[in-house]
């Protein structure tokens, strides 16, 4: 099943695709290009690079000292590029089921027989979602935003919009649902 998570190895391979980098550069570029993701830790990057070197996915090409510890520059091997190409082309299996806190809350509210509470919750949740969509819309329309930020905002907006559509439908169904629930 698709876990929805990207492995650090594939991230590193993707970032090395445009040329040699050392660990510090990889961390910086990752955090810049994926501003919505959790920042990568240096330790995690270096441990991953060492493991990938043993697997033949990357090579260490040079070592230099710049105001501090040694920095090793890595490049992707032919095997690494093949692995990246395969992974990028691989279709991910959509999750077979979705667990969602909103749906669970509404269902439980209906089970307790409180149709009003379920509808009220949906309306207030809808308001909170739209407020967050306004934040992302500002990010998206800011001329200073990078393409990575715009793409991340588009993705977040699509998901929030899907939630909102479900809330609208759920709100319309609430009365009918209570009648159907055993």
């Amino acid at each position: 099943m698709n876990s929805g998570l990207v492995s650090t190895s594939h991230l590193v391979l993707g970032l090395l695709a445009r040329g040699e980098r050392h660990g510090y550069d990889l961390k910086r570029e990752h955090d810049l290009r994926f501003p919505s993701a959790r920042p990568l830790a240096y330790g995690q990057i270096y441990a991953t690079l060492e493991r990938m070197q043993r697997q033949g996915l990357v090579d260490a090409v040079s070592r230099e000292r710049v105001d501090g510890p040694d920095r090793t520059t890595f490049r992707m091997t032919r095997q690494g590029r093949k692995e990246l190409t395969t992974w990028l082309a691989e279709v991910e299996t959509p999750a077979p089921f979705v667990t969602n806190l909103f749906a669970t809350k509404v269902t439980l509210a209906l089970l307790t027989g409180d149709e009003g509470a379920a509808a009220d919750y949906l309306r207030r949740q809808r308001q909170a979602h739209l407020a967050r969509m306004r934040d992302y819309t500002r990010v998206k329309t800011d001329p200073e935003s990078s393409l990575s930020q715009v793409l991340a905002a588009d993705y977040a907006l699509s998901h929030l919009d899907a939630d909102l559509r479900w809330m609208e439908t759920a709100l319309d169904r609430v009365t009918g649902l209570t009648e159907e629930m055993p």
């Binding site: 306004r134 992302y136 819309t137």
Partner: protein
């Protein structure tokens, strides 16, 4: 811009603004079918407010009332100190020409006229002479980055280009309020985004109030806040505390 910066901007948008346009207990029926059943709401100067709701909820009827196009059966609509719902059709028509701009989903451009002629039209109808009207129209086309379309006619333009011309036309009289009803409903996502981003940028620069009617929450997210209409009434819970009706 980061989301944190956007959150700060959100709280800035919450600052108090004096009410410019308001509806109080507005009721409208089409024959025996009620469209609005007592809506009260207000909009501050310079605000961008999305009026949302499902198809048939009454949101477009509310826009027609706020724009002075339709007179409510009961209740009143105020623009500043004026009770426009009590004014004659001629007075409301003058008000619309001078103070309001309108933008709809389809068909607002005259197909036989070029882009610049279309944009100049509201000025010509208000008595502005042809030369200054044309100059102003060209300036607005330029602000929307479509000066190169000045001599094109609507059938020669893409949907997005046509709608940008329509936005320029709505803005050419430098209105106090722009009323937009599903302005990007006929456009694909990216073309719609471009139109909305330009509409928001230009109206914010000019301090213009915008009433944006839409069923699409992604469009509503361009506004400062949302007013939700459900079955002809204001959904107060979904609208939230950010709506501050005037007394």
């Amino acid at each position: 811009m980061t989301v944190a910066a956007a959150l700060r901007a959100d709280s800035d948008a919450e600052m108090n603004r004096s009410p410019l346009l308001s509806a109080r207990s507005v009721v409208v029926s089409y024959g025996r079918t009620p469209a609005l059943r007592g809506v009260t709401m207000s909009v501050g100067g310079g605000e961008i407010v999305a009026v949302t709701g499902a198809s048939g909820s009454g949101k477009s009827t509310l826009l027609l009332c706020l724009a002075g196009i339709l007179r409510p059966d009961v209740g009143e609509v105020r623009f500043g100190d004026r009770v426009i719902s009590a004014e004659s059709e001629a007075a409301r028509s003058r008000l619309r020409r001078r103070e309001f701009g309108v933008l709809f989903q389809f068909g607002q451009l005259v197909p036989e006229l070029s882009a610049v002629e279309n944009v100049a039209l509201p000025l010509l109808l208000s008595g502005v002479r042809r030369r200054p009207a044309t100059t102003a129209a060209l300036e607005w086309l330029d602000r929307f980055g479509i000066a190169d379309l000045a001599d094109s006619r609507p059938p020669q333009m893409s949907g997005g280009q046509g709608q940008r011309v329509a936005v320029a036309r709505a803005m050419v009289t430098e209105p106090v309020v722009v009323f937009a009803d599903e302005p990007t409903g006929a456009l694909d996502t990216l073309a719609g985004e471009q139109v909305l981003a330009q509409l928001v940028r230009v109206t914010r620069e000019a301090g213009t109030t915008v009433i944006l009617v839409t069923h699409d929450t992604r469009v509503a997210a361009y506004a400062d806040r949302e007013v939700v209409i459900r079955d002809g009434m204001l959904d107060e819970v979904a609208t939230g505390s950010s709506d501050r009706p005037t007394s």
